[in-house]
């Protein structure tokens, strides 16, 4: 589940970065289940082929905030009431470490978030713990603690506003946000 959620977040981020219309829902399922369109000959003239679409696959420029979000991954996800990092979280954080080392002027703030199935004040404490466990890991891998701030939003800033187990899974996270020093 965790891998899947991370995948969708990444895909969503990528779509956004490429300038695709992020508000349009994906239509693949509909196409798959709908009957094939009738093979009637088209009355419209064949349009002149446009320029090859190679420019569309260029990702965000290196060193930009979008580069960090899309190619590195800005969030790691936690289990219920937990703040420990698993191997997948560490893989994401290792990419963050490498990126932060490549762009030494960048400073970040790690925001800790919780799902809505807890009380406000306790979740503020838990979010702080989650943010701090990411900071501790980054610092343990050689990032100066002066470059990493932390903040907790408790359960106040869900990224998925629904009240479902899938949404809660998304909302238990730490997000590394770039404050300063990125390209562009």
């Amino acid at each position: 589940m965790k891998n899947k959620s991370l995948y969708w977040v990444t895909v969503a981020g990528l779509a956004l970065a490429l300038g695709a219309c992020a508000s349009k829902p994906p239509v693949q399922e509909e196409v798959a289940t709908a009957p094939p369109p009738p093979a009637t000959p088209s009355a419209r003239p064949t349009p002149t082929p446009s320029a090859p679409p190679t420019s569309q696959v260029v990702g965000p420029a290196p060193g930009t905030v979008q580069d960090f979000i899309v190619n590195v991954g800005d969030r790691v996800y936690f289990d219920t009431d937990a703040y420990n990092l698993d191997s997948r979280d560490m893989a994401t954080l290792d990419r963050q470490v490498a990126w932060l080392k490549a762009y030494p002027n960048v400073t970040i703030i790690v925001a800790g978030n919780c799902d809505e199935r807890g009380t406000r004040e306790y979740n503020l404490g838990l979010g702080e713990r989650r943010a701090n466990s990411v900071k501790d890991y980054l610092v343990s891998q050689g990032i100066s603690s002066a470059r990493v701030e932390t903040i907790s939003y408790g359960k106040e800033r869900p990224i998925d506003g629904r009240s479902t187990p899938e949404a809660w899974e998304q909302n238990r996270n730490s997000q590394s946000q770039i404050i300063d020093g990125a390209v562009g």
Binding site: D81, T119, R120, Y122, L124, E128, D136, E156, G161, S163
Partner: protein, 456 residues
Amino acid sequence: MGLNKLKFMMAAMGAACLSLVQPALAQIEGTITQGDAREFRVALPDFNADTPEARDLADQIVGIMRNDLRSTGLFDLLPPETFIQRDLSVVVQPRFADWRIIQTEALGIGEVEIMPDGKMRVAFRLWDTATEQEKLLSGQRGRQYVTTGENLRRVAHVLADDIYSSLTGDEGYFDTRIVFIAESGPKTERRKRLAIMDQDGANAEFLTDGRYTVLTPRFSPTDQTITYMTYENGRPQVYLFDIETGRSESLGRFEGMTYAPRFSTDGESVLFSQAANGNSDVYIMELVSRNKTRLTDHPAIDTSPSMSPDGRQIVFTSDRGGSPQLYVMNSDGSPRTCPTGNRDTACRITGFSDGGYYSTPVWSPRGDLIAFTKQSGGRFHIGVVQPDGRGERLLSQAYLDEGPAWSPNGRVIIFFREARPGAGPVLYTVDLTGRNLRQVQTPGDASDPAWSPPLR
């Protein structure tokens, strides 16, 4: 008579608490005072008024009073059709027999007059129909107010407080306000503003403009100051807000974040949590000197401190045992003997009987109970427990019930509820039997309610 009845009711409740042992309590207890909590039979006829303008004011006042009294679940307001005597006057004794026939215990008679200078004069008396004596209202025989129309609601609340107090023996709580967080917008971009209203939901207004998130406001028990947590300066910190002047000020700039503030019993200090480097501990700061003292020192999350009315103990939430539970400590940090027999600086008082999580403890102003939020079986509850961990009772349950706060007399709890997944938060009050559960009207979604002390 009424007073004895309530005392009896409370005594019965106390006895019920003591006889209940811990393990078998994980369900709603609605039966504890049933049969004992008979309502006071009160007649509150329309007030006399000699002009249409006075009639309008009189009807508003008595309407507010009736609403206040009904909201408690303690008063049976007798229907006007049953009244025999119609020629009532504040300056003439009522015909008591006429009121005893319809089993009226207390009869309130009022009148409103508009004075030559435009002010209104409100006069009111309360009669005990059994003893044929006047009931004292705040120690006096009858009450009279000469004031401007803008004070109409307060006059009504003060009179309703007098009736409540005269009959139950407890201090009234109608002439009070509620501070809360007004919420709007989608969950992913929620606006959270500090707001205030009268106890009955009237006169709601915003105190902050919504540019930054504010949370967990709490009243000073002694004046009209609020302490709350705000993201105003980016980093979450505890602030004070003076309602009279509209001024806010930071409690101080601390490392990390400060949150979960609550005034000490004497109103001279603020308890709060400070989180830094992944660890939250409880602190107290004296407001005049700004001296800060650390009260807990543990790698667990220690938060939501609330002081006992005598100032000697503090209850707080901690997950030092593996899950959020309530702990009680001495305010001076000295070791105590826990219910389990251990000596420790903090004793766990919840979570022995099931896998529930407990948080947001708030000590009753009467000292006898601690209100809390319990998370159990996928539901959230508001409940109360004695400070020694005995006598747990759950008063409500929903998808989310959170953040209890006491009325100043310790008889009613206000909290916020999300009734279903996805539903916005609204405010509810509940009495200590759990039977008198009522929604409090707010202009929009509302959370984190806290009660003011009486305005007088």
